[in-house]
Every structure is written in structure tokens, then in C-alpha cells.
């Protein structure tokens, strides 16, 4: 495919695909050869090397340097095949290896080969999940996976749901459904004339609730934040207070978001107690289990989500703890009245004809606010088929055992201090370099400590040895947040993390 189209082409030439647009696969052999070569590079560089502990996690370059190295400019004429393949190599080289055993920066990590295969299939098949006619296989697979997830949640009668482009979207769906249930007319007339509706979430809840409030027209001020305790869990009595407060203002609380696995601390709100309050006040209860949902596959740890069978809706991201490739975000609602469809439908006649020759209840498109929708469920269905529930459980248990191991080690080592005892996979801690260890607990110490994590982070990224996130939190100075997910990670990697932090930070 080292061809360039120069000069004018005649109508006859254009009408014949053999001489059509370069790169469009008119020559199957050439196309296949290109794809094979590209795939070879991907397998070697982006999979094999990228998961090899002896390689770097990242090849840091400043933006200016990187721009020069990548030659991003898009031109009028195309480039040769060898140049394109080199572009692929460069893209891989300077990208962060999120599947590397020492990548702990986010709430996703590791590399699940079955999911990756499913992703490749999805890309090759290239279809959209709006109608059964367009995606028969993926429609049924999405449905089967959702039903299995509902069983784990404990919804005996089943429910409804779909996969979204991200957990933020799932949380938005929950808010929208709750609003629709409260008053279906809002769908047509908007919320201008309605009383002020209030959303409640904990102070540790994900920021997507605030974004949801802004986008859906409620306003971020109408998200009432419920204080959490020192373990990061929503305090039910404070929830009751906030509900009463809203009511006393003449506002209408209608939605509560409980978080199962908060982003920073990995805390789990007490769902049963929150459900009691929501039932009493007839509020929609949604559980943002994007991060913590993975605990449901573990008999040992599912108690963290005790009470989840009582809630109205759940968001659960399989691309986090369970390692599906991004994105794989499920939204589940305990409803059998087609609420999702009624809330979102627009009945577009070019997609959802009612006179089709098959049962149109299989067309899921009108449950969504999207039109085209990717078949993300398949990326986890294949994993589950490949490894089975027991293996998934083992992986989760192991990740949490590793987290506990790390916490124990931190307690043993001088200069390391846990923020709180982890109950999930987030291990939050400070590294206190020797120079600060004898300072009294004071504002001065916190100020100095605040500068340690960013400096260590910079050093680890420039050396490419590992990646760990840090953040400030409330009034606490910057601390590291280690997140243990991947079954490829072992004790040695965690020992390495602590050694490396000390090695990078001891002179600070």
C-alpha cells in the first residue's frame, strides 16, 4: 500500500475499487499484510514489552519534546507504509504502559488478554448496539451479562440496564431516571416550573454527581454533600439531617447517591442504613459501585456492599477491578416497567420501525441517550467465559490480600504512615523523608510534607520505574494512593514500590 494518488483521477478509475482511495483495503493482500505487520508491532511492543517488569512504565518526555518526536502534522499527501508503522511504534514507545505490573496510578490496571481479544473483535466487527438487526450477537451478550450481574447484586426478579461510555454517564442515567420517576412530564416540559430538586451524595462521592447536576439542569448547588466519618463512609444521621434541611427550604430531595468504593480512600457507604432512610422518604437510591462493584464476585468481601439488593440503581465499571479494557461501564436499574425506555425514547423512525420482521423489543437503542453505542459488554463476557466466576473471585481476593500486605509493610517501615486502614484496594499513605521525621506534628510539617509526593512523583515518572497517584484530601497534605488490581502484581512489586519511594525521596 505504498501508493499515492497524484493528479486527477478519471471517473472510470474512481468507479473501480481496485484503484480507489489508498488504504481503503481495495487490495486484500496488501491490506492483510499491513494489518499483520501492525499487529506484530502491537503484540511485541504494546503487549509483551508493556507488561514486562524489566521494561519501563513510561518514557517521559516534556510536551515540546514529544511534539517533535511524534511528527503529528497532518498533510495533504499520505505517507509510506513503513512511516505509518514507525508512527505506531513511536505511539507505543511514548505512551504509558498501563498494563505494566508497576502501574498503580488509576483505578484501572493490568492486562487481561481475553478482554483485549474481545476488544479487537469489537473493533474489527465495527457495529453499533442500537438495533438487533445491526448487532444480534452483541445485543444478546449484553443482556446475558447484565442479567448475571443483577443476580450478583441480588435482584431476584431481574431488572434492566445497558452499558455506557463511562461511569459518569451511568450516574447521570440514574439521576435522570429518578427525575423521570418523580415526574414523567419533565421529559417534555423541562424542569423550569418544578420545585427545586435536590441530589444527595457523600463528601467522598465521585465528582460526576456534580457534573450530572450541571448537565441535567439541576445546578451544582443543589447537590447537598453529606459528611463522611473518619473512615470515609457517609454518616446516615447526617443524611437524614440534609434531607430535612432540603425539605425545610421548600426543596424536594429526590435522589441519594451512595458510593461503594470511593475514589481516593476506597470507602464503602453503609447501604442498608441509607436504604432505610431512602425508603422512609421515598427517595431514589443509587449506588455508585463503579469502583467497588468488583467485590460482589467475592464471597469474602461482598459484605462491603451489604444491602445493595434494596437499591433502585447501580453503576458498576468492569474495566476497573475486573480488568475489562476501557470502557466497560454497566448501568443497572431494578425495574421491569421499561422505565429506561420510557425515559429516554424518541422513537426515531429510521431506526426503530415498528413493522420489522423480528421482535422489536430486542432493539435496545431507545433505552439510551446515545444513538451509536459500542458493544462494550462483550469485552467482559468473553473474560467471564474464559476464566469463570471462581477465578474472578480469586483475583479480587488476591488483590485485596495484597493491599492488606502493603498496609502491614507500611506500618513496619519507618517513614511511611497510613492515612487510614484500607478496607478495599486503595492504600493511602504518606512518605516522610528522614529530614522531616523528627519535626513535631504541626502546620509546618504538613506544608513541607505536601511537597514530598509531587517531587517523588516527578522522579518516578522521569525514571519510568513506576506510577502511583497522589492527591491532597480535605485538610490532609498530599499523600500517595496505591491501588492494587492486577493479578500480575505480586509481593515483590509492592516491596519494590516502598523501596523505590524511599530511594527517590530520601534526600528531600
Amino acid at each position: 500500500m505504498d501508493r499515492h494518488m497524484n493528479g486527477q483521477t478519471t471517473v472510470e478509475e474512481l468507479m473501480n475499487p481496485e484503484k480507489g482511495s489508498p488504504g481503503a483495503g481495495e487490495d486484500m493482500e496488501a491490506a492483510e499484510s499491513f494489518i499483520q505487520q501492525a499487529m506484530e508491532i502491537i503484540l511485541q511492543e504494546a503487549v509483551k514489552k508493556a507488561t514486562n517488569v524489566k521494561e519501563k512504565v513510561c518514557e517521559w518526555r516534556s510536551p515540546e519534546q514529544l511534539k517533535e518526536l511524534l511528527d503529528l502534522e497532518l498533510k495533504d499527501t499520505g505517507e509510506s507504509e513503513s512511516k505509518i508503522l514507525q508512527c505506531c511504534r513511536d505511539t507505543i514507545r511514548y505512551s504509558v504502559k498501563t498494563g505494566h505490573p508497576r502501574f498503580f496510578n488509576q483505578l484501572f490496571a493490568g492486562m487481561e488478554p481475553h478482554s483485549m481479544v474481545a476488544s479487537f473483535i469489537t473493533e474489527a466487527i465495527k457495529t453499533s448496539l442500537y438495533t438487533y438487526e445491526m448487532a444480534p450477537v452483541f445485543t444478546l451478550i449484553e443482556d446475558a451479562l447484565l442479567k448475571t450481574m443483577m443476580k450478583l447484586i441480588g435482584w431476584e426478579e431481574g431488572g434492566d440496564g445497558l452499558f455506557n461510555p463511562g461511569g459518569s454517564m451511568s450516574n447521570m442515567y440514574a439521576v435522570n431516571l429518578a427525575r423521570y420517576r418523580y415526574c414523567p412530564d419533565f421529559k417534555e416540559i423541562g424542569i423550569y416550573a418544578s420545585p427545586r430538586l435536590v441530589i444527595l451524595t457523600s463528601q467522598e462521592g465521585h465528582y460526576s454527581l456534580a457534573k450530572a447536576a450541571a448537565l441535567l439542569g439541576f445546578g451544582t448547588k443543589n447537590v447537598y454533600v453529606v459528611p463522611s466519618d473518619n473512615r470515609g463512609k457517609m454518616i446516615p444521621s447526617k443524611l437524614e439531617e440534609k434531607i430535612q434541611l432540603a425539605k425545610s427550604e421548600g426543596a424536594v430531595p429526590f435522589f441519594v447517591n451512595a458510593t461503594a468504593g470511593t475514589t481516593v480512600l476506597g470507602a464503602f457507604d453503609p447501604i442498608d442504613e441509607i436504604a432505610d432512610i431512602c425508603e422512609k422518604h421515598n427517595l431514589w437510591l443509587h449506588v455508585d459501585a463503579c469502583w467497588g462493584g468488583g467485590a460482589l464476585v467475592s464471597k469474602k468481601h461482598r459484605h462491603l456492599l451489604k444491602g445493595i439488593q434494596r437499591v433502585n440503581s447501580v453503576a458498576w465499571n468492569l474495566h476497573k477491578m475486573l480488568m475489562a479494557t476501557l470502557q466497560c461501564s454497566a448501568f443497572l436499574v431494578r425495574d421491569k416497567s421499561c422505565l429506561l425506555q420510557r425515559c429516554h425514547c424518541a422513537g426515531a423512525s429510521y431506526l426503530f420501525q415498528q413493522d420489522k420482521f423480528y421482535d422489536v423489543s430486542y432493539d435496545t437503542g431507545d433505552k439510551s441517550v446515545q444513538c451509536s453505542r459500542k458493544p462494550d459488554a462483550f469485552k467482559f463476557w468473553l473474560v467471564w467465559k474464559a476464566v469463570g466466576t471462581r477465578e474472578l473471585e480469586y483475583r479480587v481476593d488476591r488483590a485485596l490480600a495484597l493491599a492488606r500486605y502493603l498496609a502491614q509493610e507500611i506500618k513496619k517501615r519507618e517513614g511511611f504512615r497510613l492515612v487510614i486502614e484500607p478496607e478495599f484496594a486503595n492504600v493511602c499513605f504518606w512518605y516522610i523523608p528522614p529530614s522531616l521525621r523528627n519535626l513535631p506534628e504541626s502546620l509546618e510539617l504538613w506544608k513541607k510534607l505536601h511537597t514530598v509526593a509531587p517531587a517523588v512523583k516527578e522522579r518516578m515518572m522521569k525514571s519510568g520505574s513506576m506510577m502511583i497517584g497522589y492527591q491532597k484530601h480535605g485538610d490532609k497534605p498530599n499523600f500517595f494512593r496505591m491501588v492494587v488490581i492486577s493479578p500480575q502484581v505480586s509481593r515483590q512489586d509492592l516491596d519494590f514500590v516502598l523501596d523505590e519511594i524511599h530511594s527517590l525521596g530520601k534526600d528531600l
Binding site: A24, C88, P136, L140, G190, L326, S372, Q488
Partner: protein, 472 residues
């Protein structure tokens, strides 16, 4: 099985096994999806009723896993029963065909598995996305601006509505719609339904998507390339009205935007540079692969970020060691955001703007050819002369020809397309969409955009409609 400390010593997963599986599965993907899926001698689809397909696929998720041979068979089954959307006789939607460069880009995006929220986790893609957006804005006629990739055109349209609302009433972000007058969105009856869905989702209400007396218009959403007929709204004239009334002008060019690559056809979007925002889906006519949808903005005041930011401290720390303006995450309503720019960038690099221009021009030529042929054949009746690549027509079987005056003509005509559709799907010879529109009964809409399509396929398409429908 309890995970004890002893089990933590070594990695659990054996990557060699995983890599072997990837290797074997990829061979199947190439053979079954890429080769067979684009081969005109193979079927476009292998139709099965839902219950039967469910049995064939063995959907149940169990306690135990399966050996690799089983999984590879599953890969084959998924390929077999999925629609071959790259097939030269797939004309059902506004995407089709395959570009192998973009496909490589898509495989690579999946393998690198990252989110586009910060420079630290996606350095290459933050820079790449900016470059691609710059190139697309240039085609719109903007030398500066903003934008991002969205998970679909519906989301891009929602962003435009949100930005327009925020620009006019910045307090809406914190106070909500209760503090505002009833806002109205103007759009045409042929616009995409995402404008209505977006309006409902964002609290405006679907009823406020048309002209309403006494309300406060704030946005006009016009369409460059309507979904069914492929019509282009007159942008200059609409822009004049928007300028006069200070309304945000959004152009939903999800379908038609790609004409901007073509010197010959870009006139269809004359005036687009006067818009405030443009939605454009390269996964449609440019064959970039789902999803590849952009929102482009003329704004240079960081409106996108101001409107959407929530400043999460665990992602957007202000004390990072690099310029945090590169962290684009807070421009989005999403948190995780997929890398959708690579697929377009690789393709654009490989074929150049000239190559993409050719792709667009060729699609127009195919549409022209089909229209000319239809005019020569009895039984094919165009709805109207197409200005784009949507060719909408009725097939009138011999039994109905000349009977337009009959009282039940429309009813009988309405039944023709569904039956032909059922037959083509069950035989797997091709796929074309049909729908009613307003008071016009079911008609076919063929959208011709795939670079794999040739004149032979156009002729086949016409012959096949006749073959499938002649006895009706």
C-alpha cells in the same frame, strides 16, 4: 480458595498463555471478519431469530472457565453471526466499509488501554487529539478554537446545547434551570433525534425544541446532512438570523461534515465558519471506525473547561511537575474518556487530506450513478433528487405500477419495503435501511460511502431489490 500471603509471591497470570491466545484469536479475526467480511462472495449477515441465536452462542456465565479451543470457537461464532458492516453490500447505516490504517489505529488504542484525562497517563494522545482537532477546525475555517472527541454525535450535540446555555447564563451551572426563563432550542423537523433526547436529558424538555411563543430562544441547531434525506440547511442565512438575535449557532454535521474535505462539495456547508460549534463524526463518511465523533468550537475563552470543570483533586492536582493545562479531562462531562483520535490520525497520516477528499468525492459519484440508473429502471421512484449520498426511493413492484390513484395504494406500498428487507436479511445478500417520513410511507434509504464499493455492487443492489420484490 483463600488467598494467603504465600500466594502473593508470584504473579497469578501467565502472560505467555495470554499472548498465545491473542495470537490465535487474531488469525481468526483476520480470516473471518476482515477477509470474509469484505468478500462479496460471502453473505452480509447470517440471520438467526433471537431465541435460536441465544442457544447457538451459549450465553451463560459459569463458575468455571473454558479451555482455549472453546474460546477460539466462540470467537468464530461471534464473527459468524455478526453483521459484516464492511461488506460491499452493506448500506444500512451511515457507516460502512473499512480503512485498514484506521483499523490498526483502533487495535492500537485498545492495546494501549488508557484514558484521555491527563497528560501523565496519555501524553501522546493529548497532543495528538489537539493536532487532529486543529486540522479539522482548519477545514471549518477556524484558525483557533477548542473542542474534543465525544462518545458519539448525540453527546457532541448535547455539549453544544450545554455550552450555549452556560455562555448565556453562567449561573445555570451552579443554580440550575430554576433560575432561568424557559429556554428554547430551534431546529428543523428533519434534524437528528439527539437534539430532543439531549433537551430532555439536560432539563430543557422535549417540548422546548421548536418555536414557542414567549420563551427565550438561545440556540439554533441546524443540520449539515440530515439523517434520512441527507439535506443541508442553508448555513449563511441561518447564521444571519443567529447573529441578529445573538443565538448560539450549532451545526450538527455528524453525517455531512466530511464534505469539508472535498473542494468540489464543501460548498454544501458554505457559511459553517460562522457557527459557534460543529459536531462531526469521522466514523461515518471518512470510515474511521466507531466511535470517532468530534465537537469543534470557535471559542478561545476556555468556555469548554469553565462550563464542565469540577476540579477533582485526585486527577487535576495543581502542583504537578508539568504544565497542567495539558490535562484536558475537565473539558469533558466524562471522567474516563477513550482515545478516539488515534484511529483518525493514523488514517489521515496514511492517505493524506487528498486521500480523504477522494473518498468523499467517490461516494458522491456512486450516489449519482445509482440515481441515474434508477431513473432508467421501471419501478424505482426517487423521493427527491439527492444533494448528498443518501438516495431515498420507493420500489414499486409490477403489481402496483400505474395504480397510484387506488385508495389502498399507500397502504400496500408501505408493506413492500419491510418484506424486501426481511428477505434480504434472511438470505444475507445485502442490507439497506427503510423508514417512513412524515406522511410518506416506507421507502428505502441507501447510503453509499464505503471505499470498497464499486459499480458492480451498485448494479447488484438494483437487481437484487427487483429480484426480492418483483412478486409482491
Amino acid at each position: 480458595m483463600e488467598a494467603t500471603t504465600g500466594d502473593l509471591t508470584d504473579p497469578l497470570i501467565n502472560h505467555a498463555d495470554g499472548q498465545l491466545f491473542l495470537h490465535e484469536a487474531f488469525k481468526i479475526i483476520v480470516e473471518e471478519v476482515l477477509c470474509k467480511g469484505t468478500d462479496v462472495k460471502e453473505k452480509v449477515c447470517e440471520w438467526r431469530e433471537p431465541e435460536e441465536l441465544a442457544r447457538l452462542l451459549d450465553l451463560e456465565l459459569r463458575e468455571k472457565g473454558e479451555p482455549q479451543e472453546n474460546l477460539l470457537q466462540r470467537v468464530r461464532d461471534v464473527a459468524k453471526y455478526s453483521i459484516k458492516t464492511s461488506h460491499p453490500r452493506f448500506f444500512n447505516q451511515q457507516f460502512a466499509g473499512v480503512d485498514y490504517h484506521s483499523l490498526a489505529g483502533r487495535f492500537l488504542s485498545e492495546a494501549l488501554n488508557t484514558n484521555l484525562f491527563t497528560y501523565e497517563v496519555a501524553p501522546v494522545f493529548v497532543l495528538m487529539e489537539a493536532e487532529v482537532l486543529r486540522g479539522l477546525r482548519e477545514l471549518v475555517g477556524w484558525t483557533e478554537g477548542d473542542g474534543l472527541f465525544c462518545p458519539g454525535g448525540s453527546t457532541s450535540n448535547m455539549y453544544a446545547m450545554n455550552l450555549a446555555r452556560y455562555r448565556l447564563y453562567p449561573e445555570v451551572k451552579s443554580r440550575g434551570l430554576w433560575s432561568l426563563p424557559q429556554l428554547t432550542i430551534f431546529t428543523s423537523p428533519e434534524s437528528h433525534y439527539s437534539v430532543k433526547k439531549g433537551a430532555a436529558f439536560m432539563g430543557f424538555g422535549m417540548d422546548n425544541v421548536i418555536l414557542v411563543k414567549g420563551a427565550a430562544p438561545f440556540l439554533v441547531s441546524c443540520t449539515s446532512g440530515t439523517t434520512v434525506q441527507g439535506a443541508f440547511d442553508p448555513l449563511h442565512r441561518i447564521a444571519d438570523i443567529c447573529d441578529k438575535h445573538k443565538l448560539w449557532l450549532h451545526v450538527d454535521a455528524a453525517w455531512g461534515g466530511s464534505v469539508l474535505f472535498s473542494k468540489k462539495h464543501r460548498h454544501l456547508m458554505k457559511g459553517v465558519h460562522r457557527a459557534n460549534s460543529v459536531a462531526w463524526n469521522p466514523h461515518k463518511m471518512l470510515v474511521a471506525g466507531l466511535q470517532c465523533s468530534v465537537l469543534l468550537l470557535k471559542d478561545t475563552t476556555d468556555l469548554l473547561k469553565k462550563c464542565h470543570c469540577a476540579n477533582a483533586t485526585y486527577l487535576f492536582q495543581q502542583d504537578k511537575f508539568y504544565d497542567v493545562n495539558l490535562d484536558v479531562g475537565d473539558k469533558s462531562v466524562q471522567c474516563s474518556r477513550k482515545v478516539d483520535c488515534l484511529k483518525l490520525w493514523v488514517m489521515w497520516k496514511a492517505v493524506g487530506s487528498a486521500g480523504l477528499e477522494q473518498r468523499v468525492d467517490k461516494a458522491f459519484l456512486h450516489a449519482r450513478y445509482v440515481v441515474d440508473q434508477m431513473k432508467k429502471r421501471e419501478g424505482f421512484q426517487l423521493l427527491r433528487e439527492p444533494e448528498f449520498v443518501n438516495v431515498c426511493f420507493w420500489f414499486i413492484p409490477p403489481s402496483l405500477r400505474g395504480k397510484e390513484k387506488n385508495a389502498d395504494y399507500q397502504n400496500r406500498l408501505a408493506k413492500v419495503a419491510p418484506v424486501i428487507k426481511e428477505r434480504m436479511m434472511k438470505q444475507g445478500t445485502m442490507m439497506v435501511g427503510y423508514q417512513p417520513l412524515g406522511d410518506r410511507v416506507n421507502f428505502f434509504r441507501i447510503t453509499i460511502l464505503s471505499p470498497l464499493v464499486s459499480q458492480k455492487d451498485m448494479d447488484f443492489f438494483l437487481d437484487e431489490i427487483e429480484r426480492l420484490g418483483n412478486d409482491l
